[in-house]
Amino acid sequence: MAQTLKPGSGPLDYGNRTWLKILFAAIFFALYAPIFTLIAFSFNTDKRGVVWRGFTFDNYVKAWNNADLQEAMLNSLTIAFISTIIATILGSMVALVLWRFRFPFKAGYEGVMSLPIVIPEICMGVSLLLFFTNAGMMAWSVSFVWPFNLINIIIAHVAFCFPFVAIVVRSRLVGFNRQLEEASKDLGASEWQTFWNVIVPFMMPGLIAGALLAFTLSLDDFVITYFTSGPETVTFPVKVYSLVRRGVSPEINAASTALIVITVVATVLAMKLQAPDKSGKG
């Protein structure tokens, strides 16, 4: 009689092995415990935020009414909003060019295009700072009225966000049935009509996913923003950093939790939209 396998000892039963379970638990603990602590302490009544004293929503109210945090959040959202729009347009145009055309040095161009993804943020921050300083934009943009004084940060954010959009949109386009485009032209549509009526609707999930990705990246970026923001402009992550230097208050916990929620929602939406589907096969 064949020997029966003990539960959990089958070749694919990794999940049932005790040591693996412990490892998983340890990893998840290390990853998420700090975040959950942050969230939990945002509801703490203790002012110093070190000991748990009781549950309250006061920190959220205080954070909401903090004029400095408000200004920083407004700046962050404005920057994220504008740079997302520009990055999405640029990124999808790049994706279309790479998908549609063959041209010399295409592989090289693709590599260079995705450099901002792999370059260490600190290098990107320094290089952008040098660029803006030498171009005189650092001093120049300060004189603009809001939101135009954010232009340096917006340019910087577009620069590191658009490759993400391009990659997401391009992977969506790979599944496009070229006969749809041909059918559209055959039915009397011009190139332009075909683009708007057939290609854009097909790209839409990729466009939205890319835009949400760009939005979250821009919203929580610290390093590049820190380098490229002038003395006057403060974004939310930069503001949080400056407050933390004077000690962590539950107020910051509350504000950070709000940021986490925005980011998580956007990311989950983006991943949902990116999931492969059957449409587009004609």
């Binding site: 032209k185 055959d186 011009s190 097909f202």
Partner: protein
Amino acid sequence: MADAIVSLRNVTKTFPGGVKAVDNVSFDIAQNEFFALLGPSGCGKTTLLRMISGLETPTSGQIIIGGEDMALTPPNKRPTNMVFQSYAVFPHMTVADNVAYGLKVTGVPADETKRRVAEALEMVKLTHLAQRKPDQMSGGQRQRVALARALVKRPKVLLLDEPLSALDAKLRDEMRLELTRLQENVGITFIIVTHDQDEALSMASRIAVMDKGAVQQIATPSELYEQPTSRFIADFIGKVNLINARVVSSSASKVVCDAKGLGRIELPHEGPAQGDIAIAVRPEKLKISEAQPKGASAIATEGKVRDVAYFGDTSHVVVRCKDDLELAVNVQNDKRAGGAGVERGQQVWIHWAPEDTLVLTE
């Protein structure tokens, strides 16, 4: 041809890399024809269809549709519409929107669009599914959408690229009948590309057989079957027994030749004065008998049954004769008892009328 709707003049297409997909093709397609481009895969038939639609441009030659040279006319301005092999139904639009698309983009007024879409859906029996999305439909239904979407434009020529290849066998038979019916009703010239000879023979009024980028023969289905002009056609369309032979003598109405396994035979055809030829005879024209047939006129040979395959309505019998000549014979199982009436290993005679034989020189 005086009433040609499509005329091809020395059309050639060379792809980058030097592959000649279509090589100097010229023919005319008449108004209201159901014309089939038939050939093995890679013979250039789809490229030819795409050139007629404008999705591909010929390297040289002329394509004339409705009396106008189409050289400078892009696909969206041509009086042709295509049903794609993948159907290419727009996935983000409902059935009705799909059908309306071609009218909307060309600025047909909304009320006329509505009326014509309703007519087209009626024609392909999809009225009840007008608000469905394509991903909730079967392959056959999506194909009807593609058909309606093309026909609603009232093209002069409807182009169909392998329209039945993605359907299962039963649906294919249904669709075949429906396409023929549709073509008669709408009175539009249909050009269909197919690799399936049954499809071409049963639907088309005329067939162009293509091979290696060139047209081998253009004829009606029955001419193609009964009077193929080359071994390739005889072999490609249906089944055939091809027997090598050498001409002994010939006159205007008679060829005498020595055929492998058959000896010296006389055929009532004109033929070349000398050289090697092939004689061809279809399996259903052959008769099997146990005794030597009487009457001198028939071509007859003796052999041993090697194989009997039963297909219900017919049986396919393979008989090995002299000189290793193997002949395929189709027997109608017209009685319930007995099947083909022969068994493997049995010694039989095969005979047929000389006028059922073809002489092929190419």
